[in-house]
Amino acid sequence: MAIFQGEQNLFEMELPLAEDENYLDLMEQETVRVKAILNQIQLIGLNLTSLDAVCGRGGLLKPISGGTYKITKAMLHDLYKGENGMHVSNLGAIIAFRIASNLNIPSFIVDPVVVDEMQPVAKMTGLPNIQRKSIFHALNQKSVAREIAKQLNKSYENTSMVVAHMGGGVTVGAHYLGKVIDVNNGFDGDGPFSLERAGTIPNNELIELCFMNSFTKEEIQNKITFFGGLKAYTEANKVDDVLELLDRNKEEVAPIINALAYQIAKEIGAMGTVLMGKVDAVVLTGDLAKIPLLNEKIMERIHWIADVYVIPGENVMLALAKGTLRAMKGKEQIKNY
């Protein structure tokens, strides 16, 4: 939770669930979380009525184009039902709406993960009834892309760049004139491995794995989504763990980082071809960009494409605030779901 005055981040704090609350169903968490947020605001002595708008993270909605969306009944309906899948991020819009409606102020979501601006050709696969989906770190990708465009003295709508978000999942997007025309679906196991995701696994081996040891569907999904990647090799859960391991046991960990860098570089190169080589910048962002060795190894392979910018971490809060501000100030059309 963060409180912004204009673009200034006045206060920011993580409000994790208490241990006994972890067992709650996703939708049952709503009340608990809303209460925690309101308590914290009162604790720092901020008057709730001074709030102008509330913004939440967008969840798994229908595929939509990027931008700032007003939270509507239709949106809430899809999120409650989990029409497009259940994910913690579904709660974002629900909580924002609950707080805002009590205060009689507007509520928004900005660039949810389901932002879909993919060109049709990018969606095709080798099986006609399977299409590639656009699910990625749209919020952070778009936010850093805007930031870099500003540094380049250009508008986001006038640049083409490759942005690699490297975190729990790795998504690499081809941003072309303000739209992400292609991106790997890290959520569904497309592309490089990551901190905890297995990334693309050869089809046959994956099928073999599914029918071995009579795994259930959930078990397999869990295995490749939360127990793959760096975690599977090193048992590191967080970036800090990886950095510490690198410090302690470089010989063993460095080759794995190198392999990760190799896969990400390959994906960046692939997006370079999507943009036909006309790339203004390559951006490395996300938590994994805090690992200098990883950045170095990626740059070694891709610096010939364009200048590389590194924005480590993920400033979700600022991105949400900026998106909301753009909408409130009328700089950007508010979109309806």
């Binding site: 200034q8 981040n9 006045l10 720092i44 610096h303 010939w304 200048d307 590194v310 600022l318």
Partner: protein, 545 residues
Amino acid sequence: MRTNTNFNHIDIINHLPFAIILIDTNECIINVNQLGDHLLSELHPSITGQPIHRFLDTSYVTTVLQSRQSLTKVTYLNKTNKKMLVHYIPFLDEQKKLIGVLLMMQPYDQFYHKVITHTDYSLYQEVLKVLATHSQQAIRFLFPNQEEWFVNDQWHHFIHMQKASDELCATIVKNIDQSMQYRREKKSYFTVKRHGKKAIYIINAKPVFIKGRLIGFVQTMEQKLENTQNNELEIARQVIRHLEKNYQLDDMIGQSLELNVVKEQAKLYKNLTEPIFIEGEIGTGKFMLAKAMHSEGVRRIYPFYHLNVKEVPLNSLESVLFGHKTDSGLLHKVKNGTLYVEEINFLSKETQEKLFDFIQGENEKSFNIQFIFSSATPVTNKHLTDKFQDLINRYKLKIPPLRERKSDLKMIAFHKLKCLNIRYHLAIENIDEEVMRRFTDYDWPKNIAELEWILEQAVKGIGMNVRILTLDHFPHFQQVNKHTQTIFKPKTLQQAMDYFERNYLLEILKKNNYHKTKSAKELGISIRNLYYKMDKFHIDRGSKS
């Protein structure tokens, strides 16, 4: 033991080697320490309450207020333009509410000095400089805006001392442009002709990246005279081979079908054990061909002997060949090698018989000698027995006279010219067309030897600056008509002396029936000197002319 540790916090902050500046959320200065006051008061009389951007060229306070994250940036102070290293730290209150930004500022020079003192930075810098300065290549480093940052002496020399042409400069710039466009290493080539020599500049631009950003280019330049050098080297080698009479097939210049047929045949025959017969007029290069076959064949590690039948008195020929009393004879010396026998028309019938038996018998069994026979005149029954003729005619090579392969004339002439350029330190590039026309009209009765002799006479004593040989250099060609013999009219004293010397040598040689020892004695010179002079004047060793 406890000492008085009652330090005043303000004192501590004032003693820090940094300027400390506290800024509120409106980006205005709340407070500064002593050093901060010292630095900022130069720019504006009042400090407190003033917006920070009054003092700093670029302020990152906004970014820090937005992200709540620390930053380190290099910034300039306004007005004084002092370079500063600035740490921006978000400042939170007890409830972790953002209330401002803390700036820690340090003069850049101080920071830089620390880096130089405590890191390997200057070591790398120094090593790089030494490497670049002592490189054979011309090297420079440029920023992406093509501004030069470093130029080594060789580069300076190429561009400024040698006054690089506009075209070369354009190529250098284009090379960088391409490297920038593709962000990859690019090679460019630039060819110039200088003093008739071809020079190739190899220009290479390599982009340099730091942390994925293009920070500039290393451009190198090398001048290569490779092609010309190779050519000259090859000609020099040929000259040496010529002096050593250590010929190869490539030394037979020309591309005419007639010559190529001979060369191809020679390649096939070179490793045979059966005798070979070379037929060709005076000066066509029979010796050269025989030596080349020896040098390129399997026998090259064994001896090569040259026997001119006409030079050996008839009665002693057999003992020369087969030995006599204590002397084991030439054939023993040549074992496994090549024996080139010239002017076989002058072999006696007895010797023919004996040679025939040797070749058919003992040679095949143990001597393994390659016999190469030659004759400048056609062999007939009058001179050689049928048996011997059959033996030598099995593998026959016929070198065409120059008049039958005039297409090669120009090539041979130019090749000879290159050799002469090296020998006499000249820079002749061409032969006038009129001269070439007359050359073509002429019949060359003494073939290549005559051509070489005429060219050598023409270039002797001419100036270093002569680039083209004209008819003036060939006085005896000025009035030549088809099918008429050369009437040599010497021009310079040297030419006249050479002309006389050659004719006199020929006269004496003729008189002594080409017996070299006798002739040398009569001339009062050593036999070595005589051979040298004969080569110099292109007098064929068996020639009757």
